[in-house]
C-alpha cells in the first residue's frame, strides 16, 4: 500500500515536471504613466533641428461644430465600445508611451544589427556590412538614438505649439471615456501620430530593410489612438503630416554629419596609426587580425559646441616605458588575477557588446524607469531623450576621436597573461568610451532628475571602472574618459537649462 502510494506520487511528480511549460518571461503589465503636467508652454521650447516651432505650419483644423468633425467624433465614440481584443492590446501597448515604445523599437533594431562584420568562423569568410545591413556598433547606435530623439522632440514641440494655437478640445472633455489615460491637452494635432510618423521614417532611414515592419508599427500606433478614444482621424492626419515634414529636415542633417565616411574605405587609419604620438601602437589581438571598424567615427558632426569638445581632448597617456604606466599595468594584472565575483558582475553589466543595445542603449533603457516615476508627458519624455542622447553621441564621437589619435594598446596586448572578463573590443583603449558616455549621460540625468543624482553618479562611477575590472582598460583610460564626459555633460546641461522648459 505504501509502495503504491509512493509510486503514484512519483509518477505524478514526473508528469508534472514534464507537463509544465517553460514560464514566459515578459515585461509584465507596465503601469500607465500618469503625467504630472501638460507643459502648455511646450510650443515655445527651443527646437533642435528647426530654428523654431514656427518653421512648420500646421493647417487650421475644421471647427468642432462642423458636420465633418461631428461625424468623425461619433465614429470614434462608437469605435471605442466596439474595439476588439487585438485592438485593445495595441491600445495598451502604445499607451505605455509613444516616445518610449519607439525608443524600445530602436533599441531592438540596434541589437539586431549590432554584429560586427568580420571573419566568420563557420564559413571562413569575411562578412561585410552594406547599407541595407548596417553594422550598429556604438557610434552608429548612439547616432540612431540621438537622431530619433531629436526628431521626436522637434515634432512634439511643433505639435504642442499647434495644439494650444488651435485649442481643439480633447475628446475626454467632449464626453468620451477613453480606454487608457489620455493627456489632457488639445487633441489637434495628434502627438502620437507625429511621433509615429517621425520615428518610423527616421528608423527606416537607418535600417532600410525594416521599413515595412516599421510602417506597420506606425500604422498600429496611429490607429490605437482611435481605438482608445483619444483622437479623431483629422487629429492623426495633421500629426502625421507634421511628423513627415519634420523628419525630412532631420534626415538632411543625418546625410551631412560625415558618418558615411566613418567606415574609412581608403584605410586612412593606417596612416594615422603610423603618425600616432604614442610609443607603442595598438594592434588587433584577435585571431586572425582584423581591421578596426568605423575608425573615422570621431570626425562625425557633434550636437554641442565642437570647439569646446575638441578643446577637451585628453592629453597623451603615460608612455609604456614610464613608471606610471607600469603601475597602471600591474594594477590591471593584479585585478585580473584576483577578480572578485562582484567585479566580474560589474564588468559584464556594462560590457554591452555585440547584439546588444550598446552602452547608449542601456542608458536609454535605464532612463525609462525614471521617466515613469516622474510621470513625464510625451513632450518632456522626448526632451529627456533628446538631451541624453545628444550628449551620449557627442561623448562617443569624442572618445572615438581620441582612440584613433593615440592608438593606445589594450592591457592584454602589452601583457598577454592578462585575462579579461569580457571580450576585448577590437579598438584602441584610450579613452574608455564607457566612462565618457556614462559620465556625460549622468550629468544630463542628474540635472533632469536631481533626486536620483547620488544613485546615478554611483552608476557612472561603476560604469567607468567596469573596463578596469574586466581587464580591457587601464585606469587612465577610465579617468580620461570621465574627464571628457564631464565636459560634454556640462555642455548638455547648459543647453538643457536654456531651452525654455522649466
Amino acid at each position: 500500500m505504501k509502495a503504491r502510494s509512493f509510486s503514484i506520487l512519483l509518477s505524478a511528480l514526473l508528469l508534472w515536471t514534464v507537463g509544465c511549460k517553460e514560464p514566459i518571461i515578459d515585461e509584465g503589465v507596465l503601469p500607465f504613466i500618469v503625467p504630472t503636467s501638460v507643459d502648455a508652454d511646450g510650443g515655445t521650447w527651443r527646437t533642435i533641428i528647426l530654428k523654431s516651432a514656427t518653421d512648420i505650419t500646421v493647417p487650421q483644423p475644421v471647427a468642432s461644430t462642423s458636420d465633418t468633425y461631428k461625424h468623425e467624433f461619433s465614429d470614434v465614440k462608437n469605435g471605442v465600445l466596439a474595439a476588439t481584443p487585438e485592438q485593445n492590446t495595441a491600445v495598451n501597448y502604445w499607451a505605455a508611451g509613444g516616445v518610449i515604445r519607439w525608443n524600445q523599437i530602436a533599441r531592438q533594431l540596434v541589437a539586431k544589427y549590432n554584429i560586427a562584420p568580420g571573419y566568420d568562423y563557420l564559413t571562413g569568410q569575411t562578412t561585410s556590412a552594406d547599407a541595407g545591413n548596417p553594422y550598429a556598433g556604438p557610434p552608429f547606435a548612439a547616432r540612431v538614438y540621438a537622431l530619433l530623439s531629436v526628431a521626436q522632440y522637434d515634432a512634439l514641440v511643433v505639435a504642442w505649439r499647434a495644439k494650444y494655437q488651435y485649442n481643439r478640445p480633447s475628446l475626454e472633455q467632449q464626453g468620451i471615456v477613453a480606454r487608457v489615460p489620455i493627456l489632457n491637452v488639445p487633441s489637434y494635432p495628434s502627438e502620437d501620430a507625429a511621433i509615429a510618423e517621425a520615428s518610423c521614417q527616421m528608423l527606416a532611414y537607418f535600417f532600410p530593410n525594416e521599413a515595412s515592419w516599421l510602417k506597420a508599427k506606425a500604422t498600429e500606433h496611429k490607429q490605437s489612438r482611435l481605438w482608445a478614444g483619444g483622437n479623431v482621424p483629422s487629429d492623426l492626419k495633421a500629426g502625421e503630416d507634421l511628423g513627415a515634414t519634420l523628419v525630412t529636415k532631420v534626415i538632411d542633417r543625418a546625410k551631412n554629419d560625415r558618418f558615411t565616411a566613418a567606415t574609412d574605405p581608403t584605410n586612412s587609419w593606417q596612416t594615422a596609426l603610423s603618425k600616432a604620438p604614442y610609443d607603442q601602437k595598438w594592434k588587433s589581438i584577435e585571431l586572425p587580425e582584423r581591421a578596426p571598424i568605423l575608425p573615422l567615427a570621431g570626425k562625425v558632426k557633434t550636437w554641442y559646441d565642437s570647439t569646446a569638445i575638441v578643446g577637451a581632448s585628453p592629453a597623451t597617456p603615460p608612455a609604456t616605458t614610464s613608471a606610471e604606466f607600469q603601475k597602471a599595468l600591474s594594477e590591471v594584472r593584479d585585478l585580473a588575477n584576483s577578480r572578485t565575483r562582484d567585479q566580474w558582475r560589474i564588468a559584464s553589466y556594462w560590457d554591452n557588446g555585440p547584439s546588444t543595445y550598446s552602452l547608449s542603449g542601456l542608458w536609454n533603457f535605464l532612463v525609462e524607469d525614471l521617466i515613469r516615476q516622474e510621470g513625464q508627458n510625451e513632450l518632456r519624455t522626448a526632451r529627456t531623450y533628446a538631451l541624453l542622447n545628444r550628449a551620449m553621441q557627442d561623448a562617443t564621437i569624442a572618445s572615438w576621436r581620441t582612440m584613433y589619435t593615440y592608438f593606445v594598446p589594450r592591457p592584454s596586448q602589452i601583457d598577454p597573461t592578462i585575462k579579461t572578463a569580457t571580450p576585448i573590443p577590437n579598438a584602441p583603449g584610450y579613452v574608455a568610451d564607457r566612462a565618457a558616455v556614462s559620465t556625460a549621460a549622468v550629468a544630463v540625468l542628474a540635472c533632469l532628475f536631481p533626486d536620483e543624482a547620488t544613485r546615478l553618479n554611483a552608476q557612472a562611477t561603476e560604469a567607468a571602472l567596469s573596463g578596469l575590472y574586466s581587464g580591457t582598460h587601464f585606469r587612465f583610460d577610465a579617468d580620461a574618459g570621465t574627464k571628457l564626459g564631464t565636459v560634454i555633460g556640462q555642455l548638455a546641461v547648459t543647453g538643457a537649462k536654456a531651452d525654455g522648459a522649466k
Partner: protein, 343 residues
C-alpha cells in the same frame, strides 16, 4: 567599443553533461559529477548501483537487486575526470574558434550513497570544477559547481529463474553551491536549480545486465550579470531584464555490461534532447538560454581490489551535439564502502 569579436563560443560543458558521461562510466558511482540534475543523479546512481551491484554479485536470495545500496549501507566514491574539446557546435554545425583553442575541464566529484531502506537509496554528490581555454583571453574558472541529492526507489521487480527485471524511479534536485559566472565563454555551469525525474527499467542476468532509463530535467530560470537584449530569436521582444529561462531537456540512457565477482565492464549510450525552445550560440546570446543536446557513448570498467574497495575508470566521447563542445573525457575513481553485492 565597438567591434567585439563575434565570438562564439561558450561551451560550457556543464556538468550535467559530464555527469552523464561520468555516470555512466563510473559505474555509477559516479554519478557523478556534477550534475545538475537530480534525477540524473538518480539515474546515475541507479546505474551505479547497478554496476556495483553487478560487479559485486547480488546478494543471496532475499535482496531485491544488486544495484540498490541496501538498507543502512553506505558508500563513498571519489572521481577525477578530464574532458577536452577544440571543436564545438553552433546549433548542430561544428566549428572551431582560434580565440578559444582547446578547452579543458577538470572535475573532482564526491558521491555518497546511503540505503535508507532496502528499496530506497539517497545519493548526494558535489563536484569541484576547473575549466580553461588554451588560447584567447578567457580566464580560467574554478569552483564548486552544483550539489545534488537524489532519491532512488525500486518500485517493482520480477524474477525469472536467474534473471531479474526491476523497475525504478528517481527524483533529484540540484542547485549551485556558489554564485559562479554562468554566462561566459568559459564557465563551470549554467547556474540553474534543477528538478530531475526519471524512470529506469533494469534487467539483470547472472553475468550480464542492461538498463534503460528515460528522464526529464526541469531547469529553473537563472539571473545573468547583465541585461539581456536579444533573448527572443525574432529579436522583436521588447523585454529586457536579468532573468532568462534555461531550456528543459529530456534524456535517454541505455547501458549494458558484463559483471563478475571482481570486475565489471559496460558500455553506454546517452542522448540528451532539448525539450523547450532555446537559443543557439551567437554574439550577445546568453549561454544559459541555449538549447543543448548531445549524443555520447562511453565505457566504464570497475575492478574490486578488496571487499570494500574498488577502482573505476572510464572513457566517453561525443558523437553529435547542439550548442555544446565536442568533447572527449577520461576519468578514474575509487569506491569505498559497503556494497551489498560484496556480501
Amino acid at each position: 567599443m565597438q567591434s567585439r569579436t563575434a565570438s562564439p563560443a561558450f561551451l560550457v560543458t556543464t556538468h550535467e553533461e559530464n555527469v552523464n558521461k561520468y555516470q555512466m562510466l563510473a559505474l555509477n558511482l559516479y554519478f557523478c559529477t556534477t550534475y545538475h540534475k537530480f534525477m540524473r543523479l538518480v539515474a546515475y546512481i541507479v546505474s551505479i548501483g547497478f554496476l556495483l551491484g553487478l560487479a559485486q554479485k547480488t546478494r543471496a536470495q532475499g535482496s531485491i537487486d544488486g544495484f540498490m545500496r541496501g538498507q543502512r549501507k553506505a558508500s563513498l566514491a571519489i572521481f577525477g575526470a578530464q574532458e577536452t574539446y577544440d571543436t564545438y557546435y553552433i546549433n548542430t554545425t561544428e566549428t572551431k574558434n582560434p580565440n578559444l583553442g582547446t578547452v579543458t575541464t577538470q572535475t573532482l566529484t564526491v558521491v555518497g550513497t546511503y540505503g535508507l531502506g532496502y528499496d530506497l537509496d539517497l545519493i548526494v554528490s558535489a563536484p569541484y570544477v576547473r575549466t580553461q581555454a588554451s588560447a584567447g583571453y578567457f580566464p580560467k574558472q574554478e569552483g564548486f559547481q552544483d550539489v545534488s541529492g537524489t532519491l532512488r526507489w525500486e518500485a517493482y521487480d520480477y524474477k525469472f529463474g536467474k534473471t531479474k527485471l526491476s523497475w525504478e524511479f528517481a527524483v533529484g534536485y540540484s542547485m549551485p553551491m556558489q554564485n559562479y559566472v554562468n554566462d561566459a565563454l568559459v564557465a563551470i555551469g549554467r547556474g540553474s536549480q534543477n528538478l530531475d525525474g526519471r524512470t529506469l527499467l533494469h534487467f539483470k542476468a547472472p553475468n550480464f545486465f542492461i538498463t534503460g532509463q528515460y528522464g526529464y530535467i526541469r531547469r529553473g530560470q537563472v539571473k545573468l550579470d547583465h541585461i539581456v537584449n536579444t533573448y527572443d530569436p525574432s529579436q522583436l521582444n521588447p523585454n529586457s531584464g536579468l532573468k532568462v529561462n534555461v531550456p528543459d531537456v529530456t534524456e535517454l540512457i541505455v547501458r549494458a555490461g558484463i559483471v563478475t565477482k571482481v570486475f565489471n565492464i559496460d558500455a553506454w549510450f546517452q542522448r540528451q534532447t532539448p525539450h523547450s525552445d532555446g537559443t543557439n550560440i551567437g554574439p550577445g546570446i546568453p549561454f544559459p538560454t541555449n538549447a543543448v543536446g548531445f549524443t555520447r557513448v562511453g565505457a566504464t570498467a570497475y575492478l574490486r581490489l578488496l571487499k570494500q574497495f574498488g577502482l573505476t575508470a572510464g572513457y566517453n566521447t561525443t558523437l553529435d551535439g547542439r550548442n555544446i563542445g565536442k568533447s572527449t573525457q577520461l576519468n578514474a575513481g575509487v569506491v569505498i564502502g559497503h556494497w551489498t553485492a560484496n556480501n
